[in-house]
């Protein structure tokens, strides 16, 4: 079935009717672009979110179920202290948000900016290019948020007897702000990296950025516990995941030591503003030549 199978068909498109009336206002165009993201996400839902769920599920399975069953005391937070699953829960949610939001923005970008430059499909839509960047950030953040929410039940229910995480929502507004703005933070960071990096270097991005970021993102221990390794504690402050993990810790497992609220909120909100500003600029530079 090639083009030659329908040779005469397209011969006379002269009767093309004028298009229906259109009002291409910015909000309508923006909304249509978000509708596209929803359509694509719905199509790829299983594959997209399986990818993000496997890692945290494996992690809680091994550390909150298998190892305690084996009697490995190494993981226990000491007598009377919080269980390891309690420490893990906010961290794993945070890292899922970050990973998912970053992948959601970077993977499509690699296709759109290089191969066939299919970004022109949306770049030609009647919106300013920086707004297209913002749209990409919001769409990816929504995916990050969904990723984080999906991890919730896994980390809540997978554990050995007596290893249940102790969770109670201490502060709903803080929880919501941390999850929503944290998603935006990582999506904007992803867009910045994706537009700065050579697309061929994406593998490097995972090895050199995302993996260290999650391992050292205060996912597996609270930030305050790092006081014995002072240099790492300070270095960790450059890792955005740290603030999301600590923010979630403060909102979900308040008895585990965590950063003061002003510190993580400031970092998450100011960081989002800064990264969004930078990413819209680099994105515009990549799209407009």
């Amino acid at each position: 079935m090639t083009a030659s199978a329908v040779p005469a068909a397209p011969a006379a498109p002269a009767k093309l009717a004028p298009p229906p009336p259109a009002r291409a206002t910015l909000p309508r165009t923006f909304g249509a672009m978000m509708a596209r993201e929803a359509r694509v996400m719905r199509k790829n839902f299983v594959s997209t979110f399986t990818r993000v769920l496997v890692q945290p599920v494996m992690f809680v399975f091994v550390f909150a179920y298998v190892l305690p069953k084996l009697g490995g005391g190494a993981m226990a937070g000491g007598a009377g202290g919080p269980t390891f699953s309690t420490i893990l829960l906010p961290g794993l949610i945070g890292s899922s948000i970050i990973m998912q939001a970053m992948m959601a923005v970077i993977f499509p970008l690699m296709m759109e900016l290089t191969w066939q430059k299919s970004i022109t499909d949306r770049a030609l839509a009647p919106v300013p290019i920086p707004l297209l960047a913002v749209q990409k950030i919001i769409a990816a953040a929504a995916q990050g948020l969904i990723g984080g929410l999906l991890v919730f039940p896994a980390v809540l229910f997978i554990h050995a007897d007596g290893e249940a995480p102790k969770v109670h929502v201490d502060n709903w507004p803080v929880l919501i702000v941390v999850m929503v703005v944290g998603s935006l933070l990582s999506a904007s960071g992803g867009l910045l990296l994706g537009t700065l990096l050579n697309p061929q270097k994406v593998q490097m991005l995972f090895a050199m950025v995302l993996l260290p970021m999650t391992m050292l993102g205060c996912v597996y221990y609270p930030w305050s516990a790092l006081e014995n390794i002072r240099w790492l504690q300070i270095l960790s402050l450059f890792n955005p995941l740290v603030y999301v993990s600590e923010g979630l810790r403060s909102a979900l497992t308040p008895e585990v030591p965590h950063m003061p609220t002003w510190a993580f909120l400031l970092a998450i909100i100011a960081g989002t503003a800064l990264l969004t500003w930078a990413a819209t600029r680099t994105f515009t530079k990549r799209v407009l030549t």
């Binding site: 083009a3 068909a9 397209p10 006379a12 298009p19 259109a22 165009t29 499909d121 009647p126």
Partner: protein
């Protein structure tokens, strides 16, 4: 070389005289003023900044163009002539570094969003949204441009039917043939009824039959009143489709006008090229004195004669060679065409 440095007369003069015949049926206003002009560029320039090892690239160096409403206009030139960059600037995705350009009277830099609402663009590569199927590509394009979801779907189906693509409705953009993808991209560009349709090398890489099909599509669109600006490196495509053509090379317009004007104004004669097996005989030089012959170029063993009256010349060139004991290894005779226009303007073979 014979390059007319600015080619100024053919560049502007034909444009002026063209109006009677290039706007058939249209009572074109004598002063080609704003409402009649769909696209205008004045000294449009684009120089890509140096990056890394690569020096800066002057891709477009001061292009002046006027495209009228309803016109089928062609930018013709070899690969790398700056055609795609020019289209890029007119469609707001490439930022000019000099000069100015308006589309539908709007500035390409200041009014980019307003321009995007009024144009349709068919890029050279398959830039369909690979996360969506063919139908969804059209549907969402319509919605980006403000159609309601229902209107967009209806319009998408209309276009698919009109372009013989109904069977490809649910196909993925990279699983359909190149010709089909191109037609889908044209449908996509037409979703919102653009005032100006831009096509960048629409038939590059397509087989001949698909290409002629696409020509029919484009002719149909123009017959329905669509303004079209197309780039091509195929001479025959420009000849077959375009009301007016601008010949570009190295980022400059060498000449513009109707194909017929270009053939007569640019001194496009029949071009006879003969390759001798050693240095060309001296007698050949004398030919340039003869009436009906406008120019003789000699380059080692290769002789090129530009003649308005070419009858018998080829035989004569062979005979001259034989008389001087020089054989002929190759000979071609090109009748006046855009190819000979290009040859005349640049002194280079089109595909060199």
């Amino acid at each position: 070389m014979t390059k007319p440095p600015q080619a100024a007369p053919p560049e502007t003069a034909p444009a002026e005289t063209a109006s009677p015949e290039t706007a058939p049926g249209e009572a074109a206003a004598p002063e080609a003023d704003q409402p009649e002009i769909a696209v205008r560029t004045v000294g449009l320039e684009k120089t890509y900044a140096a990056s890394g090892q690569r020096p800066e690239v002057p891709a477009v160096r001061g292009i002046d163009l006027d495209v009228r409403r309803g016109e089928f206009f062609g930018l013709l030139g070899p690969n790398g002539a700056g055609k795609s960059t020019t289209i890029g600037m007119l469609t707001t995705l490439v930022v000019p570094t000099g000069g100015s350009a308006t589309v539908c009277g709007l500035d390409v830099v200041k009014d980019a969003v307003a321009i995007k609402r009024r144009i349709g663009v068919v890029s050279q590569q398959n830039s369909l949204d690979s996360d969506l199927d063919v139908f969804e590509n059209l549907e969402f394009r319509g919605r980006y441009f403000g159609l309601s979801a229902r209107d967009a779907r209806r319009r998408a189906d209309e276009l698919l039917e009109l372009f013989g693509l109904t069977e490809q409705r649910g196909g993925k953009p990279f699983e359909i043939s190149g010709g089909q993808a191109k037609r889908v991209m044209i449908c996509r560009a037409l979703m919102h009824g653009p005032e100006v349709l831009f096509l960048d090398e629409p038939t590059a890489g397509l087989d001949p039959q698909t290409r002629t099909n696409l020509w029919e599509v484009l002719r149909g669109l123009q017959a329905a009143g669509q303004t079209i600006l197309l780039t091509t490196h195929y001479m025959e495509e420009a000849e077959a489709l375009c009301d007016r053509v601008a010949v570009v090379d190295h980022g400059e317009v060498l000449a513009s006008g109707t194909v017929d004007q270009l053939k007569s104004n640019a001194g496009a004669d029949t071009v006879i090229t003969v390759a001798y097996d050693s240095a060309a005989p001296e007698e050949v030089r004398g030919l340039s004195e003869r009436t009906g012959i406008s120019k003789v170029e000699i380059n080692g063993g290769q002789v090129r004669v530009f003649a308005a009256e070419p009858e018998g010349l080829l035989g004569e060139l062979v005979a001259i060679g034989a008389g001087a004991g020089v054989g002929v290894t190759d000979a071609t005779q090109l009748r006046p065409s855009l190819e000979t226009v290009f040859l005349t303007l640049t002194g280079r073979d089109y595909r060199e």
